[in-house]
Structure formats: C-alpha cells, structure tokens
C-alpha cells in the first residue's frame, strides 16, 4: 500500500536514542536494544523526516538537495520508513 506523503509525518518515540560518530548515525531502540545504522545520506534523510511537518516536505527538501529521480527517492524513503517502523524507531502518523 502506497504511503500518502502529504498527509503523513514522522514521529520519533521516546525510546529512540541517536548518536552520530565516525561517519554514521546510530538509531537505537532502548526498549529492545535493536539498532539501525545510517550512512551520511541516510542521516540527512532522517534529519529531514524528523524535522519536517510532513513526509512530503522532507521529500521535497531531499529532492532539491540530491541529484536523484523523484520515483527513486520516493521508493527509498518508503523503504527506509518501513524498516524504521518495523524496528520501533519511528512512527508514521497518518492523518
């Protein structure tokens, strides 16, 4: 099922702790001990997703920052959010 970027936004649960070091950003689920490692591009996507009013806004910010095809970026963001949600590292809040 396709995610509506315009009517969704990303929330970070309190259980998530982050640390950036040595070129990576670690997202840790403090409840489960599971973690996700983001490279520099992933970290910028995370920053955009968690500081934007909607996923659409984050998508547009990233589209203007990277030389990437719109549909590729959309798919990458959907995959990333699916992985983060599965690990309890992000909640996608749908209107």
């Amino acid at each position: 099922m396709s995610l509506s970027f315009a009517s969704s936004r990303v929330l970070v649960p309190d259980r998530v702790v982050t640390r950036a070091a040595q070129g990576v950003t670690i997202l840790l689920n403090a409840d489960t001990g599971g973690y996700f490692m983001l490279d520099d591009t992933g970290a910028r996507a995370w920053e955009a997703l968690t500081s934007s009013a909607s996923i659409q806004e984050a998508y547009e910010r990233l589209l203007s920052a990277y030389d990437v095809a719109p549909d590729v970026l959309r798919r990458d963001l959907e995959d990333l959010l699916q992985s983060l949600e599965a690990q309890g590292l992000a909640e996608v809040c749908r209107a």
Partner: protein, 373 residues
C-alpha cells in the same frame, strides 16, 4: 616487511598517541593481524579514529577497522542507555554507586565513550548494600550467570542482561576493589565515595573516582587482576588519567600509593605508560617513588613477577588474612564452591555425584594453579 609482535605493539601505540606517519608501517603488517592485535589490546576503536586522516595510505586497513568501530558504537550506545537507567534505579533506591575503571574513564577521559571498549561495566557499592543492589539489578532484568561465590574468594559478582541469548549489558558489581586479599582493601568504598566526582554524561546521580584514586586503581587493576598485563588499553588509561592530574593531585596520588603499599606497582604502571605513550610524570613523583620504595617492603610488588603461578596468589591471600578461621574459610571457598555452581558449570545435564565433580575440579585446578602464568 615482517614485524615482530613487539614492533606491532609499538606501531599501534605510536598511532594511538597521534603519530599517523606510522600508518604505512602498520598497514604493512596485514589487515587481519592488525585487527586481531588491536582487538586484543583493546585499542581498535582508537586506531580506527586516529587512522581516519591517514586513509589514503592505509585505505583498506581503515575501512576494515571502521566497520568494526561502527558496530562498537552501536553496542556502546546500547550499554550507555542501560547504564543510565541502572544508575537512576540505584539512586531511587538510595543506593550509592561508583562507576569504576573503563566504564567511568570512557566518559571522563576519552573524547568519545565508544573509543574505550569494555566487556562489562564495573560498579562499586558498599558491602552491606549487596542485597539491595541484587534486588535492583534483578528488577531491571539482570541475571547472575553461574560463578564461584564466597565471602573471601570473590569481591565482585557478575550480572548480565540478555536478549535472544545475546548479552546486551554485563555489570561487574564490586563491594571491594579487587579479589586478591592484598589489594582488596587498598581503596575502600567509603573513602572513594567521599572523594567521588560526578559523571554528568551518565546522568545526574552518576559518580566516579577522583583523579588520584582513579590512577591508583588503574595501576593496581592491571597487576592484581591481569598479572602485570601490558595491554595497550590499560596503559592508555593510565596515560590519560595521569595526564589530567594537577600538581596537587599528583602529590595526593603519591602519598596515597605510598600509604597503601602499592608504590612499586604504580611506578611500574606509570613507567610502562610513559614508554608507550610518552606520559609526562613529574620528576619528584618518580624520584620520590624510588626513595620510598627502597625503604618499604611492599608485598604487593610480588605480583609484578612475570610467570608467577596462581598458587602464589593463594599463598599471598592466606598470608594476608589475620585469623586461621578466615584462612580455613578461604580454602573451603576455593575447594568447595556452592553445589549449584558445581552442577551448572561441570555437569548441567548429568547425574554425576557432587563428590566426583569436586574431585574432578580439584584435579583440573591443581594443574592450573601450579602452572606458571
């Protein structure tokens, strides 16, 4: 190019102290050999961090070390979150806890905590609060693995928090600073607690040792528990703690080491750190040590003898105890650990009689105790 183990250790120490011009020589030792040695010495994260700038000349090595380092960062973060929760829970219970050794130094003396790898978190509590600490840790999900127990034979207990069989966080809960009797009372909880300093990175209630205490413990630990082990990470700990001392703290350190009979050991640790990392030691500390050491006969210095059989530690323990009752108890604790431990460690799935297990353990232990270490 073929480098001996000593040359490799020396190269790693050079890189750790910031001499990146040796990166080419280190890379020539081979990636797997360097990874293994760096891991054994506990300096893999430091090497990876230092070598980042030298990537063009040692790109493959840097890439391999960085991959290890990144997983180390994740483990470190997980442990840190758990430690903060643990310290907060102890505080809520009114239990005073001091964070010791690498777990504290990682936050007080290293630029990033993940640069100081460690297998467990050492905590020190008052001896009479052991049951409170046990209840607190158990409530947080920690469990005790099978381990020898006893009033005299152990000064610490291991606790582990596991998920899916994997240890997420291990805590070494101390009520004395070391197991060998000669060292166990060198620094007491009460005095360390009075001089303790905050560790804000671990929460508002987190506290660790003051500089002079931390230096004495760093010097004692590598000898009392690790047989004068020259692992670079122990020496780098000593280097960092020593380098941060003020003049006044150096004087305090020197007086403390002399008073507690660990002057020779501290001097050895500082000398080894200086040889590897060029630690600057005030001349009066070294000279003072020489003069005072000559005047004293420190029993603890015997632990510096290389190849010392473990039996000598038992003999030293028996000599340090003041009564025959205590000596008898120590021997009993060594020879006859609790039945639950014997069953779990030696025959979890057999019905062998306990007497046979004790005999088997004694026979195996005799060889280990007599072997030169």
């Amino acid at each position: 190019v073929s480098h001996s183990a000593e040359q490799l250790d020396s190269l790693m120490a050079a890189i750790v102290r910031g001499d990146s011009t040796r990166a080419v020589d280190l890379a020539a030792c081979g990636i797997e050999r360097v990874r293994r040695a760096a891991s054994e010495h506990g300096v893999l994260p430091l090497l990876a961090e230092r070598l980042r700038g030298a990537a063009p000349v040692a790109a493959d090595l840097v890439g391999a070390l960085e991959a290890d380092l990144r997983h180390g960062i994740a483990s470190d973060l997980r442990r840190e979150v758990d430690l903060r929760q643990t310290l907060a829970a102890c505080h809520r219970r009114g239990l005073d806890v001091l964070v010791l050794k690498g777990a504290a130094l990682a936050y007080t003396h290293y630029p990033r905590s993940d640069l100081r790898p460690r297998v467990d978190t050492d905590l020190l509590i008052p001896e009479d609060r052991r049951s409170d600490a046990h209840e607190t840790l158990t409530a947080l999900g920690f469990r005790r693995p099978e381990q020898v127990t006893g009033q005299l034979v152990m000064s610490q207990a291991m606790y582990e928090k596991r998920r899916d069989g994997v240890v997420l966080h291990a805590i070494d809960l101390h009520w004395r600073i070391a197991n060998p009797q000669l060292f166990s009372g060198v620094l007491t909880f009460e005095e360390l607690d009075r001089r303790a300093v905050p560790i804000p990175a671990l929460g508002p209630s987190a506290r660790g040792l003051a500089g002079p205490d931390a230096l004495v413990l760093a010097c004692v630990h590598r000898v009392a528990h690790h047989r004068d082990d020259d692992s670079l990470i122990w020496l780098y700990d000593i280097h960092l703690v020593a380098s941060a001392l003020t003049e006044e703290e150096w004087r305090t350190f020197r007086a403390l080491a002399a008073e507690r009979g660990v002057l020779t050991i501290c001097r050895q640790g500082l000398a080894r750190a200086a040889a590897r990392f060029r630690t600057v030691i005030p001349p009066d500390v070294v000279e003072g040590h020489e003069a005072e050491t000559a005047r004293t006969d420190e029993g603890t210095a015997a632990f510096l003898r290389r190849g010392r059989p473990q039996l000598n530690t038992l003999i030293s323990d028996l000599g340090a105890l003041r009564s025959w009752t205590a000596r008898g108890r120590l021997l009993r604790e060594h020879l006859f650990p609790p039945a639950s431990y014997m069953r779990g460690a030696y025959a979890p799935s057999s019905r062998a009689p306990l007497a046979a297990l004790y005999a088997w353990r004694a026979a195996r232990g005799a060889w280990r105790w007599l072997r030169r270490g």
